[in-house]
Amino acid sequence: MQARDLQTDGKGRLKHFLCIEGLPRALLLDILDAAESFAGVGERAVKKVPLMRGKTIANLFFEASTRTRTTFELAAKRLSADVLNLNIQASSTSKGESLLDTLRTLEAMHCDMFVVRHGMSGAAHLIASHVADGVRVINAGDGRHEHPTQALLDCFTIRRATGAWAERGSSSLVIAIVGDVLHSRVARSDIHAFNTLGVGELRVVGPKTLLPNAVETLGVHVFHDPEAGLCDADVIIMLRLQNERMQGALLPSALEYFTTYGLTPARLLRAKPSVIVMHPGPINRGVEIDSAVADGNHSLILEQVRYGIAVRMAVMSMAMGSLPRTRPPRSMRDD
């Protein structure tokens, strides 16, 4: 497919990182393995490796973001790259031409990599199909489409916590994604990642107004009843409910959403005793998640942020081709 062609070179190596959909399982595991090797860097006294020294990375954020942008920035700096942060207000680039114009301007400055966040689905694909040869594009979230590094850090967190996909095997986890799947790029990337890596059961849970049409075609079981959807879950991923969704025809109020779908200690009891709770952040306490759960001992929300740096270091260095290897990556071997 087209996206696969954009994302990998002729030898199956990562080129651009735009979406999880279409990436082979072995490549996802390679990234997770690489992230594992970077996970210790942040604990060292000198928190830097010289893998991307001399490279310039532009963080191109057409949409406001704090944690994604900062973790990308930290990841780039720990790889010794030079970082350029550009927060471009969506209002001045509502036209597509100016998006590409911005890109051309940056290209003239000889950036080696663009980390792109944009409010419209497909923006990262568009940019990747227009950049010069050798320039890499990492999708940091495009509209409602995908947020692939978030999905990988979710996988990384789950692997560390549960031992899933250890030794590159499958898993029998029951994972429930709860909330506003309709507008969530995290949900779409997570669904593709979990289905590619292999899980026991993947569920989406939410009211009909917040689940996209034909969502089951992505390979999920659909639950409208949260009690049933959370039953015996190993992993619960709560999605952020943005304020604007609480007006209009999608939901009547934040309070009703919390009482109906919010993750409370009582509801958490439906899941397995060993359940882990995750959230892409920023969280809305008392809307989609109770503080007692968000801060409780099942929650891995802060670990997700921490692992995000290692995962982004892995993705950036692999896309740049700067990860040294003594032997070919597993995804290129026959085993």
Binding site: G96, G122, H125, D142, R188, N213
Partner: protein, 430 residues
């Protein structure tokens, strides 16, 4: 100039004619078929060897945006009528959503005059149903009819206020004008791709089938109430075809058309955000495409049109939902319709009828026939030539078509408008 088109397969759906014979044109009109009238050989006669070629009425395209006035950076009446001539299209129907809108006789007159100056194809206009297409005040329909508008339409601007719509239909019925309706609910139709698995996967806001069927159902009831003659433009879903069919079976005198690309593409062709497949109404599911094909086969959908919308490259170079919808489609109208013959949806005479006779009848114009005495709008084409579509082969100013790279069968060799040769393939491939 007199013309003798010799030895072609002459297809005239209006008279059920389909045989290898000769066609004679003179003084801008069809003179006779089979044998020349007495005295035809006196004076200058040009002969065209049409052996192995098809000779049929020139095509009538129910919807072509010519971009003039108002968007001449996209295309002009001159550039697009020239492209039409190359495509065998002799009459283009221009919807009223120009800038300014065709809601006054002056704008219609401008379009008519520019078309006459270009001389490559005839252009007829639909007048606006409401002033400025704003859906509030009725347009001056009697004045628009007097200047030559062949019908009225609110184009892609839905009239949300049902009282205004009802009165507009009543007034159009009074004026004896056919109303051309786009069935699209303004609220349900706010997305950019058919609501289904593809839109869900790509994270694009969907347009549900009900955007079409809710509006269509409402319109059908108002048509029945007001007694207006109505035509539904660009059907996109199988359900809509079923609704139109049921209304026709119940005796409501309505007609419908479909854009040729809707009979070939589905939402899956959008792939990873191919903006060339961004159209409105959207490409829908395979089931819908089959429903539309069945509608064409059964005659529920009488006409196939291009829904030509030439664009400059910039407006297609953006994230999918920020791009402008539409395909530059004049030059694929014939090949895409002929492909339906290959797919056993239509016979060749039926395909030609869907491009000429039926749209001419919908517009109520004297076209779409080769009967002696009718204007000599004639297309001669080679149905067997297979060509790869490239930007270079497109005459339209708009190169925005998802069919680039496709091998398309059917090549126009000659086009006549009122007996004038407006296009001749310099080197017909034989």
């Amino acid at each position: 100039m007199r013309w003798h088109i010799r030895g072609g397969r002459v297809v005239d759906p209006a008279r059920g004619l389909d045989r290898v014979t000769d066609l004679y044109l003179a003084a801008g009109r069809v003179l006779s078929v089979d044998a020349p009238p007495p005295g035809f050989g006196d004076g200058q006669v040009r002969e065209i060897d049409a052996r192995g070629l098809l000779v049929c009425p020139g095509f009538v395209d129910l919807c072509a945006r010519l971009r003039e006035p108002g968007s001449e950076h996209k295309a002009t009446i001159l550039s697009e009528t020239r492209a039409a001539a190359r495509a065998g299209i002799t009459t283009l129907c221009c919807p009223p959503d120009t800038l300014p809108v065709i809601d006054t006789p002056a704008v219609a007159e401008l379009v008519h005059r520019r078309a006459e100056e270009s001389g490559h194809a005839k252009v007829v206009c639909l007048g606006a149903l409401t002033a400025g297409l704003a859906g509030r005040q009725l347009a001056e329909m009697f004045h628009l009819k007097a200047i030559g508008c062949v019908g009225v339409s609110n184009a892609m601007s839905a009239i949300a206020d049902t009282e205004v719509l009802r009165r507009a239909l009543e007034y159009a019925a009074t004026a004896g004008l056919t109303v051309f309706l786009h069935a699209e609910d303004p609220w349900l139709g706010r997305g950019c791709l058919h609501e289904g698995p593809v839109a869900t996967r790509l994270g694009l806001p969907g347009i549900p089938e009900t955007a079409e069927t809710v509006a269509l159902s409402r319109d059908l009831l108002l048509i029945e109430q007001t007694g207006v003659r109505a035509h539904f433009c660009r059907l996109s879903s199988a359900r809509a075809v079923a609704l139109v069919r049921a209304a026709q079976d119940a005796g409501l005198p309505i007609t419908a058309d479909v854009a040729a690309h809707q009979l070939h593409l589905t939402d899956i062709d959008v792939g990873y955000y191919d903006s060339l497949c961004h159209v409105r109404p959207p490409l829908r599911s395979l089931r819908d495409r089959e429903g539309l094909r069945e509608g064409v086969r059964a005659g529920v959908i009488g006409a196939i049109c291009s829904d030509h919308q030439p664009h400059e490259r910039d407006v297609k170079t953006a994230p999918f939902e920020a791009t402008e919808p539409g395909i530059s489609a004049l030059e694929t109208l014939l090949p895409l319709t002929l492909a339906l013959v290959g797919d056993a949806v239509l016979t060749l005479p039926e395909a030609i009828a869907a491009l000429s006779l039926r749209p001419a009848r919908i517009l109520g114009i004297e076209a779409g026939s080769l009967a002696p005495g009718t204007p000599a709008d004639v297309c001669v084409f080679d149905p067997n030539v297979d060509r790869r579509l490239t930007e270079e082969t497109l005459a339209s100013a708009g190169k925005n078509t998802p069919f680039l790279g496709w091998h398309l069968r059917g090549k126009v060799t000659h086009t006549f408008v009122s007996g004038r040769l407006v296009f001749e393939d310099a080197a017909p491939i034989r």
